[in-house]
Symmetry: C2
Subunit: 526 residues, 2 copies
């Protein structure tokens, strides 16, 4: 399959400018063949205009057909076969096995959201029947449902070139809600993005979607993203990436003439608390689990365990010795890009230069573009004294904080800002005794984990991938579980509408068979 390097605007390959860039193979630093065009302001406007034009038609598409569209995207992605895996591997250096797993996750997400579209639970149907005889005033018939927000801008993430990128969870949930999507491809995997974009376009054509339901813009400058977020036709933004990138988009979005929500997931250090009981058990196994989680995807996961808190003492020392051994034996992996590898080295150097931080162990030293794994240690007081020690170092580095006792656990938990996750290791009895710590951590994170490391985010109904700022810019939402669809919808109420003028979802007797909450739909409020 020949890559074209163009944008895909409402089903058409488009290129207006001469500015271009190439993807690199991170292993060699060599440029890959295809030239990709930088989107111009006109390209951004054309994509947004097409999305706005497609919106009414896409809203009018039946749920069954919209679900088929999502499923067709999944099938088209599978049909790309090794072409996709090979190009993605060239652009990201992520191993084929990992990418095949990620592809499975991506098509699974699309099919899961298709099922959510079909069951209609996300509509949150609410019906208050008319009470014509109520005094002093009758109640009109009131019917509420969730409707799509409008055209959505999605930013692909570098570290999940499939599952959090062009057809990732953000796109799947926005399309599921009925929102046309304009994707800004991540410049580290433009070819992968083009292949996926074409798969979406073929699925849209095959299922009869309006052309503007999906567009893909290429570009490596911030100007493309900035123009996209500021386009007046865009009604919400989905983003997964760095704090700097997400916060910049948020700052643009809240300063628009019409401000819009930005759902930016910006990573975190995901504190792991080892309760004393955890160190009474097989510390070798625990150390191996931590080392594996730390090094998964060369540490390039939003849920990477970058902070470990443990009770100091001989058992901690034994665990750290085991951890050092595991990390020492790691093979350095290639990071997604020289830029990311450089940022990782800077982060590591910052810790190496920190007077209160000690290097415990490293993996074998790595060549250019490859990441050496690091374990650092510090004291509770040093950690509490420097906010910078809570900042994410994107890559396979973790900081172990020695706590003098239970009160240090509480001091650290109180000090923490927002994170995606917090993990607790120990015995069940110990967990039950740490109610106050759990309560405190609950206020700081989106997901609390017992006896497991934070990497591995299940795509399901109950998952929460989100959390308080600075982990995200929107604490009340999730970006992986099925509730992620709610980011892209809003409620509307119809008052006194005759059935013929109502959406069928709101007709008496629920003829569409949507899933409704038990308490709603029949209740009478006087």
């Amino acid at each position: 399959m020949q890559l074209q390097g163009t944008h895909l605007i409402a089903g058409k390959h488009t290129a207006r400018d001469k500015d271009s860039f190439r993807a690199q193979d991170p292993r060699t630093g060599q440029s890959l063949p295809t030239k990709f065009f930088e989107a111009t302001p006109q390209d951004v406007a054309a994509a947004c205009s097409a999305a706005a034009e497609a919106f009414p038609a896409y809203v009018a598409v039946s749920s069954a057909t919209r679900a088929s569209f999502l499923e067709a995207i999944a099938t088209e992605i599978e049909s790309l076969g090794d072409t996709l895996i090979d190009r993605c591997n060239q652009e990201t250096a992520l191993p084929a096995g990992r990418l095949m797993g990620e592809r499975g996750r991506t098509v699974g997400q699309l099919r899961l959201f298709a099922s959510v579209v079909r069951d209609g639970s996300w509509r949150d149907l609410r019906i208050d029947p008319a009470l014509p005889d109520r005094t002093p005033a009758p109640r009109p018939d009131l019917r509420q449902m969730q409707i799509p927000l409008g055209p959505v801008a999605i930013f692909g993430a570098s570290n999940f070139p499939l599952a959090f990128s062009v057809a990732g969870g953000d796109t799947a949930s926005a399309l599921a809600a009925g929102c046309p999507v304009v994707v800004k491809a991540h410049p580290l995997h433009p070819g992968t993005s083009e292949l996926i974009g074409e798969a979406i376009t073929r699925a849209a054509t095959a299922t009869g979607m309006p052309a503007g339901v999906f567009s893909l813009l290429q570009g490596q400058t911030n100007a493309v993203g900035a123009a996209l977020v500021q386009d007046p036709r865009i009604t919400a933004v989905g983003f997964t990436g760095s704090f700097r990138g997400g916060k910049a988009l948020y700052d643009l979005a809240v300063r628009r003439e019409v401000p819009i929500p930005v759902f930016a997931e910006m990573g975190s250090v995901n504190p792991v608390f080892l309760l004393p009981g955890a160190l009474e058990q097989d510390v070798d196994q625990l150390a191996e689990g931590l080392s594996n989680s730390l090094n998964l995807g060369v540490g390039q996961f939003c849920t990477n365990p970058g902070l470990v808190i443990l009770p100091e003492g001989p058992k901690a020392d034994r665990f750290l010795e085991a951890l050092g051994g595991k990390v020492r034996g790691c093979t350095a992996g290639t990071m997604l890009s020289e830029g990311i590898a450089g940022a990782y080295r800077s982060g590591v150097e910052r810790l190496l230069a920190h007077p209160a931080v000690t290097q415990l162990e490293t993996s074998q030293s790595a060549g250019a573009g490859r990441a050496t794994s690091y374990v650092f240690t510090t004291t509770t007081d040093a950690f509490l004294a420097d906010r910078a020690l809570e900042e994410e170092v994107f890559g396979p580095a973790t900081l172990v904080v020695r706590a003098a006792g239970p009160e240090d656990f509480m001091r650290i938990a109180r000090h923490l800002g927002g994170h995606l996750t917090a993990s607790l290791f120990g015995t069940a009895a110990e967990l039950a005794e740490h109610g106050e710590l759990i309560q405190l951590l609950t206020r700081k994170v989106g997901r609390l984990i017992f006896n497991a490391f934070p990497t591995g985010v299940e795509v399901s109904h109950a998952m929460v991938h989100g959390g308080p700022y600075p982990a995200t810019t929107a604490v009340a939402v999730d970006s992986v579980g099925t509730a992620a669809i709610r980011r892209f919808s809003r409620p509307v109420c119809y008052q006194g509408f005759p059935e013929a003028a109502l959406p069928a979802a709101l007709w008496d007797g629920n003829p569409r068979g949507l899933v409704t909450a038990g308490g709603w739909g029949v209740d009478t409020v006087s």
Copy 2:
């Protein structure tokens, strides 16, 4: 009952400064007896600190007890009897009958949210059971529920001194979600606010709530509100009032070190579309309905019908003649304050001076502080040519736009920004024919109304009081229906937690008997 003029911080009457202000009787312009203190930065900090301290204890309160707290507030408000109505009438000039109705709505809201707390539907429980045998990787047990955000700042509205003020819908829904509340009282009704604040404090004491669950701050300068929104312990803001006020708070909140959501409902002109069939019917009755809605509460309603679109022609002229007659016969009412009356006069003068706007009729001319009702007319082209004609004139003024035909209806609908409501009058058959107009309006408003005027916002499950910007700063939420509780909650996921360490709401078998959605809790995603 003797008013003290102090703040109520965590149950204690507090006053630190010598700066003070008095409420006025809008009918006479005379100051009312009690001096109210202006909250200092220290007062704001003390209230926020008490709220943060109370948060863990309030989270730990059982749902049943929290519901009793809300019900106790309702009972305490009722116990204030005529003291409340009299003071409120002095401060607002709103008639006693209206205020008694508003009190009924206020206690009804509190009791409705108590029922939501008891049924637990707002928790949105989601359970994905563990799949230990799944390949390639087992699924852990995942359980999600909504938890409260944290301390919330609420700003009382001038125009609903009870239902949207100290113990109004914002406070009721925030307390229901488990969030401590710091209310900034509206300076136009500080005595009413103090009485209600004391009622809440008594209810908190009687039901054993932590003292900091509620605080009330008085003040007439913007500095108090600004300090409150910027306090790092505040996690969300509820506001009902002017666009200028709401937008100012939004701008502060998004620029904080930790940005927080602002749920500001800022009013709108609530377009009313008269389809041709509406003018075939009893135009006298229609005119009376519009005049009543326009003049309700001296036009000081967020849902006031400030814009009417009708098909020009002899029938429109007959309707306008009838409307003119109704409005001419209106008695001028006293507005909430001289400031509000002055702003209304400025808005009217702007329309009077507009070259393309014609004054159709006014009510009898009014004295100082009293509002004359106005009906203006203009053409579709003139309306489309000037964005300012869509701005709210807070008071009993409405602008009638003459449309040449159905296409003008569409042009106007396309041109509209965000509004709380849109109303359509006509026959059921006509409504069914206007699918495209309805679809267009659905994208612009939170509530669509057939054959009724927008004033009168039912407090129920299906109500939506909200809408796209500039009607609100948060399009995806509602501030009157029971879904309003969702503004103040966020999801958290527990992974692999033994039952003993989980909140009881998430135990197997749903022992708390919470309302759960049919589709969740049993589903298996592979």
